[in-house]
């Protein structure tokens, strides 16, 4: 989405009818391609520099003769995308502001004067978007972060926030080297007591890999979401199979499809792909060895 906004000012520079026309013709065969979209977006975007108008008016006058269905669709799509982009940007800004506010809240275990002042300062310094009401899971998140800080390591938690659309699920990003101990804490601590591991997913962000865990406390009926990052070249996350047996095949699947190593796993071998397969198919940069496969 953001590329849309950034490219628009770039595309605005080559003004003049000549580039606009052939580009308008380009729009006909390939309305989906990104460079073609901008000039069309230019024609449709409400806010246009006046210098553009005479230049744009000419191709706009000629374009209706040639405007095909693809162009119409592309134009509408671009307009919609522009609106969505604006909405997304606003939502992201609000989310970030809320996150910052909540992190400021989370950073204060007990109310003390100085942090309270800074917490007050943070919402006061917010942009015009109203501060989000505190989430019902906020105290739980705070408690988890405190426990991890005290019992595992001071810097075990990299980030923590509430995932609001997902029923206010407390989400934590835990450092890779502290993961095994933190997992044991999640399993064994009386307040957390997460004895059921719902899901383990691996995600390939192009610069790093991540494993997402969803432990669940079956008795208290509450859970968390934990993400552990690993670097891309030799990704390795401590295996939690000794802690939750559910993770056994899940980790094997993540190893098979994404290539993340799980030291401590009793039997790490491929599960879906044949045993002699080369490569890890779910990676973003996966190229099959045999192009016909």
């Amino acid at each position: 989405m953001s590329e849309e906004i950034e490219n628009k000012p770039n595309a605005e520079q080559p003004s003049g009818s000549a580039p606009a026309e052939p580009v308008a013709e380009q729009a006909a065969p390939s309305p989906e391609s990104a460079p073609a979209e901008q000039p069309v977006a230019e024609q449709a975007a409400p806010a246009q520099p006046t210098a553009e108008q005479p230049a744009a008016a000419q191709p706009a006058a000629e374009a209706p003769r040639k405007e095909t269905d693809e162009e119409k669709a592309a134009r509408r799509k671009a307009a919609f995308e522009a609106k969505q982009a604006a909405k997304a940007a606003a939502a992201q800004a609000a989310a970030e502001a809320a996150k910052a506010a909540q992190q400021a809240n989370a950073a204060t275990p007990a109310a003390s004067a100085a942090p309270a002042a800074s917490a007050e300062g943070a919402p006061a310094g917010e942009p015009p978007a109203p501060p989000a009401p505190p989430s019902p899971s906020q105290p739980r998140l705070n408690r988890v972060v405190t426990l991890l800080k005290e019992l595992v390591a001071e810097d075990a938690v990299e980030e923590s926030y509430i995932n609001e659309p997902n029923d206010h699920l407390p989400t934590l990003v835990i450092k890779n080297e502290h993961w095994l101990q933190s997992a044991q804490l999640f399993r064994n601590h009386t307040e957390l007591a997460c004895n059921y591991l719902r899901n383990v997913s691996g995600v390939d962000y192009e610069t790093y890999m991540e494993v997402v865990y969803y432990p669940w406390n079956m008795d208290a009926r509450e859970g968390y979401c934990i993400k552990v990052k690993a670097d891309r070249e030799l990704p390795s996350v401590a295996s939690v199979t000794p802690i939750w047996e559910t993770a056994n095949w899940n980790e094997r699947e993540i190893y098979d499809l994404l290539g993340i190593d799980f030291p401590g796993h009793p039997d790490l071998r491929r599960i879906m792909m044949p045993d002699d397969w080369e490569g890890h198919p779910l990676r973003k940069d996966y190229v099959p060895l045999d192009p016909e496969v």
Binding site: N166, L169, Y196, R198, N199, M218, W249, M272, M273
Partner: protein, 366 residues
């Protein structure tokens, strides 16, 4: 001394009782299994990788093919995840239609399980009775959305087709008949001495083991844990209906059997109430943007499929395609307990235990 050897036997991938293309390599000492290693991946079609290039509406047919015996619940988990991320409202009539088809699907799936399970155990006839009832359900689905097995019925924001005239009445007739048939099935099978001798006490595990292994669905409820996502984390309109969660006691195959048949009865109850409350008119599709682009973020949504907890984990970067789509498949997770349960068992009991877990290979392999 007689020198004995351990026999390495390959059960599958082509085998009448493995419920799909699934292979178990068993080490036998006579007829007792000393070790069992499941080998899967024969049906791996790369749904998750394909999903990264398709927009959400295009992924819906792929979800049908994962757990092909229970396609409606698969459809639902995906569209529910997207709707939750985008905060979309689904109109009431569409939500009722979704619930009705999901419960009908649950009945159909449990009938398939019942018929094939008894076929594995050796009784030839219940298979045909179960499938003749399932034919009626598939006929209803055919009228509704044009397909018998892979429906592609739900969309983000609603459903694709509205119920044709008289469809609701036909479903009501079916529900009434199904109650009678279910009684007949209990009479025929559930008290049979041979059947009970084959099933009772087999494949037993306790609640702690079940939770440890992450089991869900009837596999968890048979041990006494009252965990049904329709009641514990209500989604769709389940909180409007009055139904019980069928819970077992001992955690053996017999309790799983009773749990699943009990679930059919509860589904019929829900269906009765839903058909009563069905809105006379309404939209089948809500206000959905033309291009479905959930905002950037992550979500994990789970619902109760006939096999257990099916979950959908979406990482979205705000585009029309998901950045990462992962399905938490209940059959995959439930199957992990198989090697543990098989040690020390007979070859015959292997078939009984595997059938009792109720797996569908399309889901195990995704």
């Amino acid at each position: 001394m007689i020198r004995t050897e351990e026999l390495l036997l390959n059960v599958g991938p082509q085998h009448p009782s493995t419920h799909g293309v699934f292979r178990i390599v068993v080490k036998l000492d006579g007829e007792i299994i000393t070790e069992a290693t499941p080998v899967m991946g024969y049906l791996h079609r790369g749904t998750e990788k394909l999903a990264e290039n398709l927009n959400y509406t295009q992924i819906i047919p792929y979800t049908d093919r994962m757990d092909y015996v229970s396609a409606m619940t698969n459809n639902y988990v995906l569209v529910h995840a997207v709707e939750k991320m985008m905060g979309l409202e689904v109109p009431e009539r569409a939500e009722y239609l979704r619930l009705i088809v999901m419960e009908l699907q649950r009945v159909a799936s449990h009938l398939v399980w019942w018929g094939t399970y008894l076929l594995d155990i050796g009784a030839l006839s219940p298979f045909l009775y179960a499938f003749s009832d399932r034919e009626r359900i598939l006929g209803l689905f055919n009228e509704l959305c044009g397909a018998r097995l892979t429906y592609n019925y739900m969309r983000v924001g609603g459903v694709k087709w509205d119920a044709p005239d008289g469809w609701i009445d036909r479903v009501k007739t079916f529900v009434k008949d199904m109650y009678v048939r279910l009684d007949e099935y209990h009479n025929l099978v559930s008290g049979n001495e041979i059947f009970l001798a084959r099933i009772k006490g087999i494949g037993q595990y306790d609640a702690k083991t079940a939770i440890e292994y992450g089991l869900s669905g009837a596999n968890l409820r048979c041990t006494g844990v009252d965990w049904d996502l329709r009641k514990a984390e209500p989604y769709s309109l389940y909180d409007r209906f009055d139904f019980d969660v069928v819970v077992g006691k001992n955690g053996d195959c017999y309790d799983r059997y009773l749990c699943r048949l009990g679930e059919i009865t509860q589904s019929l109850r829900i269906l009765e109430q839903a058909l009563e409350q069905f809105p006379g008119e309404g939209e089948t599709m809500g206000k959905v943007p033309r291009v479905i682009r959930p905002p950037a973020g992550e979500i994990y949504v789970r619902i109760e499929s006939p096999r257990g907890e099916i979950g959908c984990h979406i990482v979205s970067k705000g585009k029309a395609e998901p950045y990462r789509l992962k399905f938490r498949r209940p059959s995959f997770v439930n199957l992990q307990i198989l090697p543990k349960l098989l040690i020390g068992e007979n070859m015959t009991n292997m078939v009984t235990i595997l059938g009792g877990i109720d797996i569908v290979l399309g889901e195990v392999d995704c």
